[in-house]
Symmetry: none
Subunit: 226 residues, 2 copies
């Protein structure tokens, strides 16, 4: 699964350049062009990493960083201009995981991105989060973000969806799903799965054409990704 990165940078040239290089590395990239947009996009996208310019309109980098920190342990790399060198310490205190001064070399930046992301998956807890087009399944905060909107879903639905989406395109039989989600000692009607699938479909209907919950006749269900 591709890692997602949010770039918060008001200079369109720099932003475009970053986006291009990051995409070339295989990351999925989102961009915001001021602090406020950065914060709101963060909570919608839940990226794995944030690249954050310090000088921003509306809300500066510190404010954004603080807001992000308040929403979880997502790593942040600060982009600071030369003159702002003194702010380094402050930036790190606000919770940034690393910083890099502009003008930076792409190679250098990409190395740090990779380093922080690697640290993020090892040292910190394994984040139980899956991201698809217009869909975030986050089992840590136990929420579903559909097309940017937070959505509540009962435990069984969450776990069922998480299970299916953990192995995209793989078909799960009803009994497999009962084992994985309900537990191996469950002995109820396997049609129960159908009902939960139906409720998930209602919630996820027409959100994206990139993925869907498909029925495989006499076999089970799968989370299909194109």
């Amino acid at each position: 699964m591709a890692k997602t990165i949010l770039v918060v940078e008001d200079d369109k040239n720099i932003s475009d350049l970053l986006q291009m290089y990051l995409k070339r590395e295989g990351y999925e990239v989102f961009a915001a062009y001021d602090g406020g947009e950065g914060v709101s996009m963060f909570s919608q996208v839940k990226p794995d990493l944030v690249l954050l310019d310090l000088m921003l309109p509306v809300l500066d980098g510190w404010g954004v960083c603080r807001a992000i920190r308040q929403q979880g342990p997502t790593p942040v790399i600060m982009l600071t201009a030369k003159g702002e060198l003194d702010d380094k310490v402050a930036g790190l205190k606000e919770g940034a995981d690393d910083y890099i001064t502009k003008p930076f070399e792409m190679r250098e930046l990409l190395a740090r991105v990779e380093a922080v992301l690697r640290r993020g998956t090892t040292a910190r807890q394994t984040s139980r989060r899956l991201t698809f087009d217009k869909l975030v399944i986050d089992m840590d905060s136990f929420e579903l973000i559909v097309d940017g909107k937070k959505l509540e879903a009962p435990p069984k639905e969450m776990e069922l969806l998480y299970c299916l989406a953990s192995s995209p395109n793989r078909v799960f039989s009803r009994n497999e799903l009962l084992d994985e989600v309900w537990g191996y000692e469950y002995f109820g009607d396997s049609r129960t799965v159908d009902v939960h699938i139906k409720r998930l479909r209602d919630k996820l209907e027409g959100v994206s054409d990139q993925w869907s919950l498909k029925t495989i006749w006499t076999r089970g269900y799968k989370f299909e990704v194109l």
Copy 2:
């Protein structure tokens, strides 16, 4: 690079528990189950920090501490049982950087571990303060500032809120909260958590729409930040 910690503790239950929590925080953990093993493992592993029980077979905590001190400036945190309170001063003189009395709360221990590691050698002082919209949780002065007004809250409520707010949006099960706030040796009814949550909600009701204490059905609670 993950920091390494050596746990010298003869009670396997406590040792296992410590190992689990420390690993979850991203540390690399080694364990020794008596004083002699502790010393030899220390020189083999050269950990960044040692958690050292005072009462140990073969060679007691003081002896181990002395031996460690002779090999370098590695910080040591002593684990002392209640009855050994008087030994605290002696322990610190032997070169321990901090001590904590059993039964301790995981949260407290982890805070001290982090503090000692950050300082490199000396103990103390991590600012235990969290700030959100119209809410300050200050565990140093032990006060809650809600919408600019100081508010009194009993210890358990403070710690519960602090625990939840330390990892915003993360869902904590009742048992997790009992472990972290009440301590690992607490065996009361987990519904106790509910009552404290209720009292916190009464205090924090309608203060801000930026955050709230949310219930996740069959899962637990979380401090949600938008």
